[in-house]
Symmetry: C2
Subunit: 496 residues, 2 copies
């Protein structure tokens, strides 16, 4: 166990031992589900169920109280009803427990009585070395030690995004959505009522966490604005902070007040906070994952000049619009680059940016174009549209081929085997293209964003699961993510 000063959140995210206060044998109680999640998730530390009336839970010896646990306890997780929480947390303090997560609801979020109870809880914690998550939290997730100390049984992908959410439900569902979309997390915390630990504490911890490359926040309100701004400013000079601020409208602020009871910041004031702290604000919940993933995987662009490779003119037009709308530039390619492309593109190609491959099935041309665009000195970033996912539209053709074959029984015209082979080759080429994108990003240190459309077969998950490539389902979302990278780059430059 690490020795640490007050405020060391590693006891919460990297505990060597956990006591569950209110552990239960009843499978539909949180006192069972949370420790079962921890066990099933693969965490390797010492787990102590605490319950005065049981002998054994989850194959572990049960202790009647935390004080009876023989060794040190890094983290206590409390699932008992609100009225019983305070004395049990006091015992944790007396035991010398370093961190505490109060899952239980029924505190300030429910009204005045609950607020009083929360005040009492805080006074117990404040006088100690122990730090408190919650109350009214869905828990924490920590990838390095596979700690799934969460109410819902989600299994997030591991990655570089640390995520703090002021809504446990939204937060844990985003973790789950991340698994569907290939977005991985290093840490997660449902911040709950922030009786003790607040936004600033989590941001500070994530900022110093070597496992974390990007910080993602779902925020409804701020309780300690001054400290928040100070820590967020300091942190975002070394790591990007992506924030979705909910409650930006009157209706939203009202709903937020009823939900998290945190002081919703005035919209105008929050604009100032964004500017002052250099946080990157996103407009929608979908953009939270889109943008966080871009930061987690890609280098920042040096400027705003984008080269677009497209497999169809329409998508190129849509991308051009989206780039300009988000403040990026569809850069004019130098004559030298055009000549390089002339060498292998058909004579009628558009000779400009977007580079339109006009539906060619020869994917080697996509490789050459991608490389030429990525290495072009005036190009700071590349969007590649339609090359990945190219196989799926051919899949259905081959799937139809049995029917077709029957139809053609006497005809020598259709060679189904050749078509299947063609699709296999396309799939192999697609995998190779993915590797090429990774290689080009590493060699040129420029971001390459891939756009591929979800197919009926996989709903996009097959493509998304390649976590080393950033894949979006539309050019607009790709352009938006790229713009976020550029916005942060400009912020960093403004600090120089």
């Amino acid at each position: 166990m690490k020795e640490g000063k007050k405020g060391n959140l590693s006891y919460i995210f990297d505990p060597a031992s956990i006591a569950v206060i209110g552990a239960s044998k009843q499978t539909m109680k949180w006192g069972f589900i949370v420790p079962a999640n921890i066990v099933a998730g693969g965490w390797k530390g010492e787990l102590y169920p605490i319950n005065p009336h049981e002998e054994e839970i989850l194959s572990r010896k049960v202790y009647r109280s935390i004080k009876e646990v023989p060794g040190d306890v890094d983290l206590a997780v409390v699932t008992v009803p609100a009225q019983k929480v305070v004395p049990l947390v006091r015992e944790c303090v007396e035991k010398g427990v370093k961190g505490c997560i109060v899952i239980s609801g029924g505190f300030s979020e429910t009204g005045e009585d609950g607020a009083l109870l929360e005040k009492e809880l805080l006074s117990v914690v404040s006088s100690s070395e122990m730090r408190l998550v919650g109350p009214n939290t869905m828990g924490v997730f920590s990838a390095p030690n596979s700690l799934h100390c969460l109410m819902p049984p989600v299994r997030p992908l591991k990655g570089k995004i640390a995520f703090a959410a002021q809504s446990g439900n939204l937060g844990t569902q985003m973790l789950s959505l991340g698994s569907a979309l290939g977005v991985g997390f290093s840490r997660f915390v449902s911040i709950g009522n922030e009786a003790d630990l607040k936004w600033a504490d989590y941001i500070e911890y994530f900022g110093n966490d070597p496992q974390t490359g990007v910080i993602l926040l779902y925020m409804e309100g701020v309780r300690d604005a001054r400290k928040f701004i100070e820590v967020a400013s300091r942190t975002s000079s070394k790591k990007p902070i992506v924030v979705k601020k909910a409650g930006r409208t009157k209706s939203g602020a009202k709903a937020a007040k009823s939900h998290s009871a945190a002081l919703a910041a005035d919209e105008v004031i929050f604009d100032g906070v964004i500017k002052q702290t250099g946080m990157v604000e996103v407009d929608t919940t979908e953009e939270m994952l889109d943008v966080a993933k871009a930061f987690a995987v890609l280098p920042l662009p040096k400027g705003k000049r984008v080269g677009v490779l497209t497999w169809g003119g329409g998508w190129g037009v849509v991308a051009a619009d989206a780039l300009e709308q988000h403040g990026l530039e569809l850069v004019e390619l130098p004559e030298e680059t055009l000549k390089e492309l002339d060498e292998f593109l058909p004579p009628y190609w558009s000779r400009g940016n977007p580079v339109d491959l006009v539906g060619t099935l020869d994917l080697s041309q996509h490789f050459r174009c991608s490389e030429i665009l990525a290495r072009c000195p005036v190009v700071d970033a590349v969007i590649s549209l339609g090359t990945m996912g190219a196989t799926t539209s051919f899949q259905s053709f081959v799937e139809d081929s049995p029917a077709l074959e029957k139809e053609l029984e006497l005809s020598a015209g259709f060679d189904a085997a050749a078509s299947e082979e063609f699709v296999r080759q396309l799939a192999a080429t697609e995998e190779a293209y993915r590797n090429e994108v990774v290689k080009l990003v590493n060699e040129t240190n420029k971001p390459i964003v891939v756009v591929a459309f979800p197919s009926p077969e996989d709903g996009g998950s097959r493509l998304a699961s390649h976590s080393d490539v950033v894949v979006y389902p539309s050019p607009e979302r790709g352009a938006k993510a790229l713009a976020a990278l550029y916005e942060y780059k400009k912020y960093l430059q403004s600090l120089e």
Copy 2:
């Protein structure tokens, strides 16, 4: 075969017979792929391959020229190189063919020589009863007769959306995306260079088509603005027209000019066109399908007052923001409705809109809330967040249970069978909830929008495939779609 006046597009979308001029035995030629698509897609008419050098293609007797075909030909599909097109199309005219699709590229989109060729082509067509799609088109799709006269082998879902696209690539990929997202189409046309048939003609045809409930346009520019505005205005008074206008920025307009060579409308002028015609403009390609599906499936809301049902406060806040941002109203619920909800919601519920079910696993409460909201007299539309898709987060828990069981071998604490049964029940309840939504929409004639998050298992496709319910992956997209319905409703009211 129908007798019709010039301009009867049913010969193109509902032909009884098709001749493919340039039919081929080579499987990688469009002269094979297009008719093979038609055959594999299940169209039941007479197919005549035309090729002077073959005897049999796709089990059909080959004719040396269209003039040798014994019976009438409704539609000719031309895949030969541009230079050979004009004389062959002249033969079609002489044969009395009613409709013609020139797939071949190499016309006005390639420069001056191509433009001259296109002019020549048009003069042949103009002097006849025949109408022409393209040239430079990827073809048409028609659901009622399963006609897949398309270059790419896509198999769209059948539905009520007629879609015209000024980019074959984007258009056909959207059809394919629709299959992934549960969005079905009645007709599709890749309009190509519009030498003869133009926007107005297709809109007019779709407007009168009983199979079509919504018209969707991907538009880069307009060649005949006056007629377009006249027909679009007339049509949108009876059917919604959803339009994505690309080339709205300088970069986009420039890219569009190089792509479709259509006159890109000035952005300011196009704003006027939207206003004048009552078309519903969407901002992104994703919104094209989101909004078109809402129109295809849901009734229009009578007003802007929305009731929100949520399974977690955070999503409610996000929905509240999105509603206000899109001009909708998170309506205050009358005391009577609150009292109805009091009867079964926990005492600490928020007593307001959004109605927050605070993660309850008792889905019968979701049913009751949905019904109360839908029947509430001040509610014009409902958004239901998180009930559908609820099972997925529990799936992983059960999937983990073998590992857990092993861990618990000696413990009686964990009943995996009971958990599996629980998930089965949730899944059955989810299906029942879907039916309940359909029933409530029919009974109340109010739109209900469902939000469910894609899961790692199905990427969202399982939920989306229920084509009688409108499901979006985020509250923001649900609110946007609802706002589009309301915008159109207001337009219709303005005509009264």
